[in-house]
């Protein structure tokens, strides 16, 4: 479990992390979303005790990270891609950390196997592809068999096979009762992997909700209806808590009514329907809507 209480980090006059209070629960995969510069990595570094907070606290499994006597068994982290010495072999990299943390020798082979690196364990990391480097980073994070796993952009540079591996791994770690906290800017990946979302924008907490709720809140689900008598149907459906939009002639986007209701009413009125589709807002759209004011870097014109 990760508990952030009023966590704040200031660099000069810039607030990188601004009074963030959130609890990351064990047993579920928590996605950490936010545009570049939102403060995600800084937050993760503070959780690991690498950066000291300007104010507030970050507790991991009940204590500040640095107060754990066996930190690698408490938290395993992948903080940035390729934080590896190019001249060292994958095995030596893991062995040095295993020795430092007092872990049994077998752990090195276990995580090498788990990350599919057994065959290249004796090769120097300098020759690794980005994806292999990421796998070794994940292997490093899991070395101590930690109760809490923190992964910063783990799918970056991975091929589809690797992305699937991370997704399966994250879900399995959560199912084992561990706390899994991972960031990504790939919304689609988050939508299928994360149960819960923590969203940051410009250092502030924007949302701390379940993935389903996040999608709903952001304008959420609707029904796309195409009919030659769209205007008549729109009038028929109007009511409290129901919105009907028409972006193009003959097409309606209806919110607040189920597809069945729309179909039945249209049939009762004798209105022909050419399309009746339930649409779910993408995580991407939801994210854009929520963080519209919180993006630090943006282009002048947002794509439609």
């Amino acid at each position: 479990m990760i508990e952030l209480r009023g966590l704040t980090k200031r660099y000069g006059d810039r607030l990188a992390v601004d009074d963030v209070t959130v609890t990351v629960q064990p047993g579920v995969v928590t996605g950490f979303l936010g545009p570049n510069g939102a403060g995600k990595s800084t937050t993760m570094r503070m959780v690991l005790g690498l950066d000291r907070p300007t104010a507030g606290t970050a507790l991991v499994n009940g204590k500040p990270y640095a107060e754990h006597r066996d930190p690698l068994r408490q938290v395993g982290a992948l903080l940035e891609a390729r934080a590896l010495h190019p001249g060292r072999t994958a095995r030596a990299h893991l062995q040095s950390l295993a020795a430092t943390a007092g872990l049994p020798k077998g752990r090195v082979d276990t995580v090498l196997e788990l990350s599919g690196l057994t065959g290249v364990a004796g090769k120097r990391v300098g020759g690794f592809s980005l994806g292999m480097g990421q796998r070794l980073g994940v292997a490093t994070a899991l070395l101590g068999d930690p109760a809490t796993v923190v992964l910063d952009e783990p799918v970056n540079g991975l091929d589809p096979d690797g992305v699937l591996w991370i997704r399966t791994l994250a879900r399995r770690l959560a199912a084992e009762g561990r706390t899994v906290f991972f960031s990504s800017h790939l919304m689609a990946e988050m939508a299928v992997t994360a149960d819960h979302l923590v969203v940051m924008g410009r250092g502030r907490l924007v949302a701390d909700v379940s993935t389903a709720e996040f999608l709903r809140r952001a304008g959420g689900d609707g029904v796309r209806v195409r009919s030659p008598r769209a205007a008549e149907l729109a009038a028929l459906l109007a009511g409290p808590d129901i919105t009907v939009e028409s972006a193009e002639t003959g097409v309606l986007l209806v919110r607040g009514v189920a597809t069945e209701v729309i179909g039945d009413r249209a049939a009762a009125a004798g209105i022909a329907l050419h399309e009746l589709t339930a649409v779910q807002a993408s995580l991407e759209e939801a994210f854009m809507t929520l963080t519209a004011d919180d993006r630090e870097y943006r282009t002048e014109e947002q794509p439609a």
Partner: protein
């Protein structure tokens, strides 16, 4: 991942030292530098001693006044100048390599209190370099003795102190490099600063006025530590062990400052 660790294990001092040893030995550059220093030192000593008296500096008494070129022992060990350069860079690299590669985050994640990492690195590095440079110094002396007639015996006054002192001096310079690496975190910056301290400042110091210049120069790390490598010291120089204590003091201050900075700075 479904298997949990059966035996509860804890980080320990021995484990930390073993971890740093694995880090040092798993880089080829460590072995290249150690082997290069050893071989280079012995070969240079052989060159200087075997050519002494053939019109070289040993024969005509030229060169800087601070070096006693007529003394075969000094000539046999003169390769330490090259070795201190290489070993000092090794000291820098084993630290800055963690920063340039980013492994420092894993290192501090495993040892959040940080100062034990500085101590363990210094201990491992110091141990490895002390062994290597002791072998190099003894080998240089042996090779020099074989090719010159005038070499004083190991039992003669101060000779063993000079030979083993060379190894102690090289170890201290290596740790000075390590301290600069922690403080500056940049390979180029730390190497340049180390060279400036060890090589440049003594040369510039010689340009100072004669009435107070030597009082400044003898406090420089390489000049103070270098007293240990002389059979006889002049009034301008520290006594051998006093001078070495001054050098050790610089190393202690450097490592202490590194520990303090690590405690206040984000990794």
């Amino acid at each position: 991942m479904t298997t949990t660790l059966e035996t509860p294990t804890r980080p320990s001092t021995a484990g930390l030292l073993r971890g740093e040893w694995i880090k040092a030995r798993s880089l080829r550059s460590t072995w290249y530098v150690l082997a290069g220093s050893l071989v280079g030192m012995v070969l240079l000593g052989l060159l200087f001693t075997s050519t002494a008296g053939d019109g070289g500096p040993g024969g005509n008494g030229g060169g800087p006044p601070s070096v006693d070129f007529a003394q075969p022992l000094t000539l046999a060990l003169a390769g330490y100048n090259l070795a201190q350069l290489a070993l000092g860079v090794l000291g820098v690299l084993l630290v800055t390599g963690e920063y340039t590669s980013g492994t420092i985050r894993s290192t501090f994640a495993a040892t959040p209190r940080r100062w034990p990492v500085v101590a363990a690195k210094a201990a491992v590095l110091g141990g490895v370099v002390l062994v290597t440079s002791t072998v190099a110094a003894l080998a240089s002396y042996a090779v020099g003795s074989a090719v010159t007639d005038g070499m004083p015996g190991l039992g003669d006054d101060g000779v063993l102190r000079v030979v083993l002192g060379t190894a102690l001096y090289l170890t201290a310079i290596t740790l000075l490099g390590s301290a600069l690496g922690w403080l500056l975190r940049s390979t180029a910056g730390a190497v340049a600063t180390l060279f400036g301290l060890v090589f440049l400042l003594p040369i510039l110091g010689n340009l100072l006025p004669a009435d107070w210049g030597p009082d400044v120069v003898r406090w420089l790390p390489s000049s103070a530590g270098g007293s240990l490598l002389r059979l006889t010291t002049t009034a301008d120089q520290f006594a051998p062990w006093t001078g070495f204590a001054v050098l050790v003091g610089y190393v202690a201050v450097g490592l202490g400052a590194a520990v303090w900075r690590l405690g206040t700075r984000d990794a």
